[in-house]
Amino acid sequence: MKVLVPVKRVLDPYVKVRVKQDKSGVDLSNAKMAMNPFCEIAVEQAVRLKEQGVASEVVVVSAGPQQSQETLRTGLAMGADRGVLIPTDVALEPLAIAKLLKAVVDKEDPGLVLMGKQAVDGDNNQTGQMLAALLGWAQGTFISKVELQDGAAQVTREIDGGLETLQVKLPAVLTVDLRLCEPRYASLPNIMKAKKKPIDTHSPEDLGVDVTPRLQVSRVEEPPARQAGIKVESVQELVKKLHEEAKVI
């Protein structure tokens, strides 16, 4: 079974971000970029499936600026077999990405799409769900555990009340949560091999997808500075404050 893993190039989550002076967005000039951490987890899981003999091929796909190729190379260095690059300078919205991914799925015919539950730049948490809907496939979101057997995936989902276990028919779109697995280090031999792995390029036009933005950003602002905390004297006082002031219990 072929596994398709979409990966996104985002601002390195460990660098401090600044809003542009004109409040039109986040300042990305000279900023360090990295693979979205949730995508990394999805790549890791896909590579593990391959190592277990469950997956036959892992294909990473990325839509975005030309440099997304570096993100693909990171995926290849983690053990993916091939890459698909969809270069565009348009600021892609979740629906556009989902449509691009659907076009790639139509071409590649994977048995499973494993992807991050969200990207840490927009934090939209929409693409996976939209893709599943466009494909008419089953979906399992926020998964923290997955087992594949007999044309189905048994997935554990992290939901507000606890953990939910679902049986999902394949092919399916699964979006991964933080606790699914720990991404590996790109090993030196794999980094060297990554150079030779193929990356196909398809433009959005090739794929027949109109990626014109439909949303308009009116303003981007920094979140308000956090207020200093307070110290409580006792557990009783803490519980009282949580109940009466924070109203969380």
Binding site: E70, Y185, L188, I191, M192, A194, K195
Partner: protein
């Protein structure tokens, strides 16, 4: 001229950085306070380094090493330099001098060392011979088919973890146009050879948890097949294979300086006095600016020398300049870091005081600053006949 690292170089840097942050940073404080690396921590780092191919990254891929060129290796060493010297040592890079092994020696030493089954250390320095290595008093004398070694080496890094030593010893004298000179020969000496005692060395203010040792040779007998390279060619061997080790020191200084600087920037932006972040005071802001500028300069010197090394064109002067400037830069950067942190800079709650202590060593080993200046001056004056 292209200053951009390749995609592979970026991947190596990112991956090694992540490795260092996740596998080494969490143990730093314990290593500092106990002055040892717990055995299981060291072994875990070694195992993971092997699994990920970071171990012996400097060795050729055909031999099972990482096959990195000097430039990429210099970038990797920079990332390793960010963490405690004691911890990063478990991502071992066998001494390049082992490449001089003949086939039979390679089976016994080079290959198992690359696999992580054996570990080398290198012994030149003696209590009476530091900068003046040719003044060494450790001798090896032929006796039948064997060599008999006598003498003392000190300051020998990692000899406690290693199971054999690449030893430099005097094996007679030779006439040269400038008078008599000691002949130096290199030997591979297993630590369990009778007559060799590996003793605990001194406690150092720098690089706690990593140990230097004293090696005592008392009629230590080794067979002729333990000679590495040609008899009497020890320094040629060192010049051929160890010329890039100064770059290792230099680039590790750059890595540590970067970490100290990143922390200093963060602190300067968050620590408030007189109602504003201390970074807004010119006294602090200018320090940050000077630190950043010097770090970039040191890094350029190291990377350029590494690039020249890959082209087979690095001179002693190139390596000396990189090591000299980077190690002295680190001293200034870490001193400024302490100043910027104020009192907290001296407390062992934070790694700043450690960076500052560790920095002191870098101007001494692998050739003191004075020796590096001597090398540079000599190569400037020699063409003028002086």
């Amino acid at each position: 001229m292209d200053f951009a690292p390749t995609t592979e170089q970026e991947l190596v840097v990112d991956s090694v950085r992540k490795f260092v942050e996740q596998e080494c940073y969490p143990h730093e404080q314990e290593v500092e306070r106990t002055e040892t690396v717990p055995a299981e921590v060291g072994e875990a780092i070694r195992r993971k380094a092997i699994e990920n191919g970071f171990y012996a990254a400097n060795m050729p891929a055909e031999l099972g090493g990482g096959g990195l060129d000097t430039l990429t290796m210099t970038m990797m060493e920079r990332e390793l330099g960010r963490t405690s010297f004691a911890l990063q040592a478990f991502v071992h890079r066998p001494s390049n001098i082992l490449r001089a092994c003949n086939d039979e020696q390679a089976e016994r030493y080079l290959h198992p060392t690359i696999r992580g089954e054996r570990m080398d250390c290198l012994a030149m320095t003696e209590p009476g011979a530091g900068s003046d290595l040719r003044g060494m008093k450790t001798t090896a004398v032929r006796d039948g088919g064997d060599w008999v070694i006598n003498g003392t080496k000190h300051f020998i890094s990692h000899a406690d973890l290693a199971d054999y030593t690449v030893l430099f010893a005097a094996t007679g004298e030779e006439e040269t146009p400038r008078g008599k000179r000691k002949k130096i020969t290199t030997f591979l000496v297993d630590h369990d050879t009778p007559g060799l005692e590996v003793r605990e060395g001194y406690r150092s203010v720098s690089h706690r948890g990593y140990h230097n040792c004293i090696l005592n040779f008392d009629d230590c007998r080794v067979p002729a097949r333990q000679v590495l390279g040609e008899e009497g060619a020890g320094f040629d061997l060192a010049n051929t294979w160890l010329s890039a080790s100064r770059l290792t020191v230099g680039t590790m200084c750059v890595g540590r300086a970067r970490r100290a600087h990143e922390m200093s920037v963060e602190w300067s932006a968050s620590r408030k006095q007189f109602g504003q972040p201390i970074g807004r005071f010119q006294g602090t802001g200018f320090k940050l600016a000077d630190m950043a500028t010097e770090i970039e300069a040191a890094e350029m010197l190291c990377l350029r020398a590494a690039w020249l090394h890959d082209q087979g064109r690095m001179s002693d002067q190139d390596a000396a300049m990189a090591k000299l400037f980077a190690s002295e830069m680190l001293a200034r950067v870490t001193d400024n870091a302490v100043q910027i942190y104020g009192g907290m800079g001296l407390m062992d709650e934070l790694p700043i005081e450690r960076f500052w202590r560790d920095a002191r060593l870098e101007r001494i080993w692998d050739g003191t600053s004075e020796i590096q200046r001597h090398i540079i001056a000599r190569s400037l004056l020699r063409p003028h006949g002086a």
